[in-house]
Point group: C2
Chain length 346, copies 2
DNA sequence: CTCCTTTGCTCATACGTATGAGCAACTCAG
DNA sequence: CTGAGTTGCTCATACGTATGAGCAAAGGAG
């Protein structure tokens, strides 16, 4: 009871044969060019009939070769996707990418190409070939992005966007970036509205591009609003300086902006040791996504990962039609979360 | 400081021109066919020189077209992947699929095709066309698999495997299935080794293919080892029958095999109400993945999801080269977990 | 100086799709 | 009943790569 089964995917030529027309007619019908090509309803029907019967679907390789469109969005991560999906890093980006791709009728290619070593680190270029070319354009993401490869990719003119900030000298990489600068500014504005005049800033020890944005946004807002920044940590030593904490406890600073939850917790502990409470004595805001904990919700910002994923798809989509866009980056607003760690100045 | 960017990637023809040879010579040098093709070292050097100078990379679309292979594995889920990835259903399968695909140099296409309704339910065939054809072959998974679509896909000869059991009349769907039958048999064997002679089986109310395998495995082993099955639930009423529980409590049954954790918990409660303890008075084994809880670890089996994902890729890979394999299914062994709910008969 | 073998390539073609150019048949105005 | 315009297609070709077939030149045997 084995049914005869085909062994090779049908081509337009097969469809054409069945429908009794030429291959080019089939192409025109399928690609919707029928109007310009003056194909009457009846012929179209026959062609679609044959398509259905044979289960024809366009060969992406051939289409990519001839056209410059596959309706495929590539996703390249510089590490494996799924082991990390659990942690929130890739997961929500992919969620947004999948959602939006589905909406605009694109499928997703997950590039899994590895480098030579089995260390899980991935490369775009493997023995000289760039597999991304199969997709119309790609979304790249990852913490360990290889800048050399990015530069080469950009130079070759391949359409792609990078999720997250990544500066590469000599190339203008299109990036989708959370607008930390604006968000930081807004937090300062809110503090100013609540009467705070003397602020502090606590920064992380490591240097990464996204922190620059936060610092710039903070500094600009402080300047613009005529406030005073009194933190040695801002331009000097990174972490929490005991002497400065003493000053905060004395009331020399009424609101502190910190770069991470970890630092915020340290700050709270340091103040508690000096008999000061958050937010009664000092308001605190956090410049990253800060989940609620036992002590309540930090006033903080949200990294809109899903939205970023969706935006990346749209941005890439726009780039495909307009090569001029291939050097433009995009900022995605970061919503603020109202928490319980900021109050009005007494 | 904008660098001049190429619009078009260089082809083998460009390389050939620069190296002063023909396109086919370039192809042979690059594809390593040079030995057979008798190209001397000097010419090869010139070609590679030109390749370097132009930054040539092979066009994967063209290569795929010529080779009739895209090196793409499709993944189609009948529901959205990512929202579900969190829950363990898809997640570990995908993990295995990605791992293995990476190892054998295949990329993944995630099909995002939706059906008509925006209800998140997905279809393979959209307005009559089969989008899967884009990939060389596909792995299908999902709880709400549409049997009609499976049958059609199979009939069309498209290479695919289904993860999990799914019987479709008239089609021999290649499936990757956890070997519940063998695992159930092994559990019975273990009980027999520990001295148990009178067993019971508690089954779920719903009927699904995977349960058939468990029941068969149990029944076969009981028969083979000359044991006695005394459960009304096995062929009669599904759940836990109070009268039968009384009999178990009386000692008429010393070991019980149940289909789910939920039933195992009910069983334990029912026995506790009759002053009997697990495993002191009655041994209990569970025929599904049963995480450890406060009361310890169930003797149970593991559904090797990662391994299944990996196997699915390999199986599909083999099918691509050998069409005869397109009707064969594969069993993946289920390891047993030693827990604290089985002991030797006193 | 023949004839044969080996070397070092080139030629031609196929893969499946998209598209500019063009052709035959028909319609309709004059 | 002629000429122009429209309709409904087909023809031919290009895209970039891989590969079987084949050809010219060089080298060697006799």
């Amino acid at each position: 009871m084995t049914v005869p089964r085909r062994t090779k995917a049908p081509s337009q030529a097969d469809v054409a044969r069945l429908a009794g027309v030429s291959q080019s007619a089939v192409s025109r019908v399928i690609s919707g060019d029928a109007a310009t090509a003056r194909i009457p309803e009846e012929t179209r029907r026959r062609v679609f009939e044959a398509v259905r019967e044979l289960g024809y679907v366009a060969n992406p390789a051939a289409r990519a070769m001839r056209k410059q469109r596959n309706n495929l969005v590539g996703v390249h991560t510089f590490e494996r996707v799924f082991p990390h999906a659990r942690e929130d890093f890739y997961f929500e980006f992919l969620l947004g990418i999948e959602e939006r791709a589905e909406e605009i009728g694109f499928d997703l290619v997950l590039f899994t190409s590895t480098g030579a070593g089995g260390d899980g680190e991935r490369k775009i270029y493997r023995n000289g070939t760039n597999r991304l070319n199969l997709a119309d354009g790609s979304i790249l993401l990852g913490v360990s992005t290889d800048r050399g490869e990015l530069a080469r990719l950009w130079y070759e003119g391949y359409p792609f966007v990078h999720i997250g900030r990544r500066e590469v000298p000599g190339a203008e990489i299109p990036q989708i970036i959370p607008d930390y600068r604006a968000a930081s500014g807004q937090i300062v504005e809110r503090l100013a509205e609540l009467g705070h005049r003397r602020l502090g800033y606590v920064r992380e020890g490591i240097e990464m591009e996204p922190y620059d944005d936060r610092r710039t946004g903070y500094a600009e807002a402080v300047e613009r609003l005529g406030l005073t920044d009194t933190s040695p940590g801002f331009r000097g030593t990174p972490n929490l300086d005991p002497k400065w904490l003493d000053e905060v406890a004395r009331g020399g600073v009424t609101a502190v902006v910190v770069e991470s939850v970890r630092l915020a917790q340290e700050l709270r502990a340091g103040l508690a040791a000096r008999d000061r409470k958050v937010p009664e004595d000092v308001s605190v805001a956090v410049l990253e996504g800060a989940p609620a904990d036992l002590d309540g919700q930090w006033d903080s910002l949200v990294i809109p990962r899903i939205e970023i994923g969706r935006t990346a798809v749209d941005w890439l989509h726009a780039m495909l039609d307009d090569p001029k866009k291939r050097t433009e980056s995009l900022l995605v607003p970061c919503p603020l979360i109202r928490g319980t760690t900021i109050t009005a100045l007494r």
